[in-house]
């Protein structure tokens, strides 16, 4: 007599989020698992939807500016920059050189701050908790500078149409210079602690692979695209503000995996430091604001301005019907496009890879859901 044992296996569907600790906010992932392997992952977005685009239609151009901060909250200055540039295009205003430099400085500082948050959360996701605190320590220094300049720590509302809220305070440049003097050594520290770590590398290398063709067809931009070896950076491809005058490189890595994306961001922080140093040297004197009418009424038309946000190509598209309020405003949100590619990256991943890959895509839910 023979006995036959049959093992029946089933796929397991689990719900990751929206309250999961490492979905970076309120992202919900519906994950189908075969053991510990991922069969399918479907991101379910919209938990942080806040009608950012619709709100613009009932507010005047000035009034909407503080909302621009709130949409990708880790890159408030960058958002303001995109919005302000779009409105200025509509109005045909050219800001003063000093203003341009300060805007670039703010955007780059914000890029560093945002990448630091990325480092921190990624470290946390893969289990290296100390990196989290170190990165926030450095970010705090940047936020202090932002507070000195704009009076707020996260949602600055510092840029204005045609200029800035106020000129930089006197001690700002010295403070920034001090920060820049020690920050590169801190990057080296993260490099030693996290990036070079064998365990971290084995967690990141070869994980979340997706090709440059995929990236381009999904509209992925930013470090995710540059991690696929494609040299595309708005600061170079469609220069704005004073970027053409600045000397910096756009780091790219060919490996197409999570590690490549990580290295791109690490290198970008160094480049941002370089840019900031040059800005400090070249910062011209003069006014920071040009005169704009109190009531902003652009001629009917449309304008699209794009900047390189820490997450990719951030675009702001405005249609004006000649009234005080935008007829339509649209954000091209980099996180949203990058998240689309996430299921592709997660093909054949392990459960543990899910969070590492999500960390390496570096989404901000405010940016995804708007």
């Amino acid at each position: 007599m023979t006995t036959e044992t049959r093992t029946r296996t089933e796929e397991l569907t689990i719900n990751m989020g929206p309250q999961h600790p490492s979905t970076h906010g309120v992202l919900r992932l519906v994950v189908t698992l075969d053991g510990e392997r991922v069969v399918q992952v479907i991101p379910d977005i919209g938990y942080l939807h806040s009608s950012m685009e619709k709100i613009a239609e009932r507010l005047t151009y000035q009034q909407y500016l503080p909302y621009a901060d709130r949409y990708d909250y880790l890159n408030a200055m960058g958002n303001e920059l995109a919005y302000v540039m779009a409105v200025e295009k509509l109005l045909g205003i050219e800001p003063t050189p000093r203003c341009q430099f300060i805007r670039v400085m703010m955007a780059e500082m914000n890029r560093i701050a945002s990448h630091l948050v990325y480092f921190a959360t990624l470290g946390n996701d893969v289990g290296a908790v100390s990196v989290f605190l170190y990165c926030f320590r450095e970010r705090e220094a940047i936020l202090d500078l932002f507070e000195a300049a704009s009076g707020q720590r996260l949602l600055y509302h510092y840029l204005r149409i045609g200029g800035l809220r106020n000129d930089l305070p006197d001690d700002f440049c010295a403070g920034l210079g001090h920060f820049l003097s020690y920050f590169p050594s801190r990057i080296d520290e993260y490099d030693k602690l996290l990036t070079k770590n064998r365990i971290f590398r084995s967690r990141m290398e070869g994980v979340g692979h997706f090709s440059a063709e995929d990236a381009l067809s999904y509209g992925v931009t930013g470090p995710c695209l540059r991690g696929c070896g494609t040299d595309y950076d708005i600061r170079r491809a469609d220069p704005y503000c004073v970027y053409p005058q600045l000397d910096f490189t756009v780091p790219t890595f060919e490996e197409c995996d999570a590690m490549a994306r990580h290295l791109v961001r690490q290198e970008e922080m160094r480049q941002s430091v370089r840019i900031l140093q040059q800005c400090l040297e070249m910062l011209p004197e003069g006014d920071v604001s040009v005169k704009v009418p109190r009531r902003i009424k652009p001629d009917p038309g449309e304008a699209y301005a794009r900047v390189e946000s820490p997450r990719g190509e951030l675009g702001c598209y405005i249609v004006s019907d000649g009234s005080e309020k935008p007829y339509r405003l649209h954000w091209r949100a980099p996180s949203f496009y990058n998240l689309q590619a996430y299921p592709v990256m997660c093909k054949d991943a392990w459960v543990a890879d899910l969070v590492a890959i999500l960390g390496s895509v570096d989404i901000v839910l405010g940016d995804v859901d708007r």
């Binding site: 689990i14 510990e36 946390n124 290296a128 170190y134 996290l194 971290f200 084995s202 967690r203 899910l354």
Partner: protein, 359 residues
Amino acid sequence: MSLLSQISNWLRLTAEGLCQRWGIPLLFVDLLAWMVAVAVIIGLVLLIVLIFVYLERKVSGYIQTRLGPMRVGPIGIFQTAMDALKLLIKEDIVPRGADKILHTLGPILFFVAAMLGYVVIPWDDKAIIAKYVDLNIGILYVTAVGSVGIIGIIMGGWGSNNKWSLLGAIRSAAQMISYEVPMLLAIICVVMQAESMSLGRIVTGQQGAYLSGWYCWRPWLWLPLILFFIAATAEVNRVPFDIPEAESELVAGYHTEYSGMKFALFFLAEYANVFVVGLIGATLFFGGWLSPLGHPDPLHIPGFFWLMAKAFAIVIFLMWIRWTLPRLRVDQLMALAWKLLLPAGFLAIFIVAVVLLYI
């Protein structure tokens, strides 16, 4: 004669005297002695764990350029005690659809298993506990009761009716079973060297001038030393091997659905287990209760103190590791155990055997 055994002897004599006067069989004295011993162990372990948790918070805080707990008591020393108290009075939630019996039994079993390990630790030369139970298979016993804990984890994970818990429990079981093997291989090396499985004998085998007799100074035992610590860290689910409760992946692993006292049991037992690793590590490789100042200790510091000091040093080193490293992925973890540590373990045994035979 150490103070501890003096007290215990005095207590015992008094108790026996009382028994004779009241006509109670002497068996009761033995029973009583056992109960006292158990109470002392549990109390001691809980105290150690509280200190340990506080220390971990402080060390992690300092490593992360924070201050750690500062609010309750001077520099926050009562923080963990208060947290334990808070957990005690918290509501105990059993999720809907959970297997109530398993859900309750899981943490208890895990806790008991963790406590059992402490029974055979040779705290001191003639300390009461060691006198009662210096098992001749002490080290085997420790590893054996260590594995009983897995059942508690699986019970908890399965009984919680939560997929994350289940995943965590399965991971935990797989991990603990895998790492048991290299750990035992490493221990076998020490057993070969000491020619005994009794922890007491292993310690006395390390006697020598000052700390020269400790096994950690013998080059052929270095590989087992490293193996032991890697495997033991994995056994007790600490970073970089904390995948069963990787909070960024599995929420909280097998204790996701636990609250109140049951959670506290898991939590305490986990830390108790880590401390066992420190104690066993100190016993196997760092001379246990032997004083580094010479034997017998010229300053009459009890061996208990030295054992504790060594164990805490090891545990602090484990904390340091924990707050530095990221965690491995589950397949890498398994690959590490079976493909690297296991062959290395056999190699270690081979080396030790050759050395012991021919040198």
